[in-house]
């Protein structure tokens, strides 16, 4: 967990590991300064770029249907399409 002051960007809190002394979880590694996949939290950042590059509004329709992009056939986290 890392917490920044949104105005100054001061680091107000950071938890880098559950237990520094636990070797089983690599406790001495600060996970907040290590590389991790951001998962779905990357989406807003890419959406913002799409907003910059296209005339889209937040209410533009977009369809959540099964699709293939070449050989790539992504699923949703719940396996459903809405």
């Amino acid at each position: 967990m890392v917490s920044l002051d949104t105005v100054t960007r001061d680091v107000v809190a950071m938890v880098g590991s559950q237990d520094y002394f636990n070797k089983d979880i690599d406790g001495e590694v600060n996970i907040m300064t290590s590389l991790k996949q951001p998962g779905s939290s990357m989406k807003p950042i890419i959406y913002a770029r799409a907003f910059e590059k296209n005339s889209l509004s937040t209410d533009t329709p977009i369809f959540d249907v099964e699709m293939s992009f070449g050989t790539y056939k992504p699923k949703n986290f719940d396996g459903e399409f809405l």
Partner: protein, 160 residues
Amino acid sequence: MTVRTALDASRNIPAIKMYYMALEDSGNTGVQQEHNLVDYLQGLGLNSIEKREANNLYGPPIVLGSAEVRGIDFAAAYAAFANNGQLLPPNPILKLFDPEGNEIKIEPATPKQVVLPAAAYMITDILADNGARPAGWNNFLALVGGRKAAVKTGTSSKKV
């Protein structure tokens, strides 16, 4: 569904469509398109995302979070969205003193405009809209009592 609902409900297919819309115009090669996207991401301080060779591109899964980042960098990128798209590096040092106890002034960094203000506003507006999130999801916004706040979920590997 709308773009708003797609992001708040974190649907993957719309995200991949938005990835394609995030790429530069089709006059460029796929490699150049991705490198331009990487320029944007690096501009947001996500320096662990790099320009890769043609046979090793991130491709569409990058929008689902496949490219690794540091949590501290990512928090700073999100903070830029809360500030109309202006990035400041995270500041780990609040005050600095010399051995005699005199404060050494730290020159504050200058904010950089890394996302267009309109785009940053739209993202914040969507992520602050609890009404567009699926019923039954944790209402994280209730935790911040009255303050404007935005939230996005994301799942990494389970290591803590």
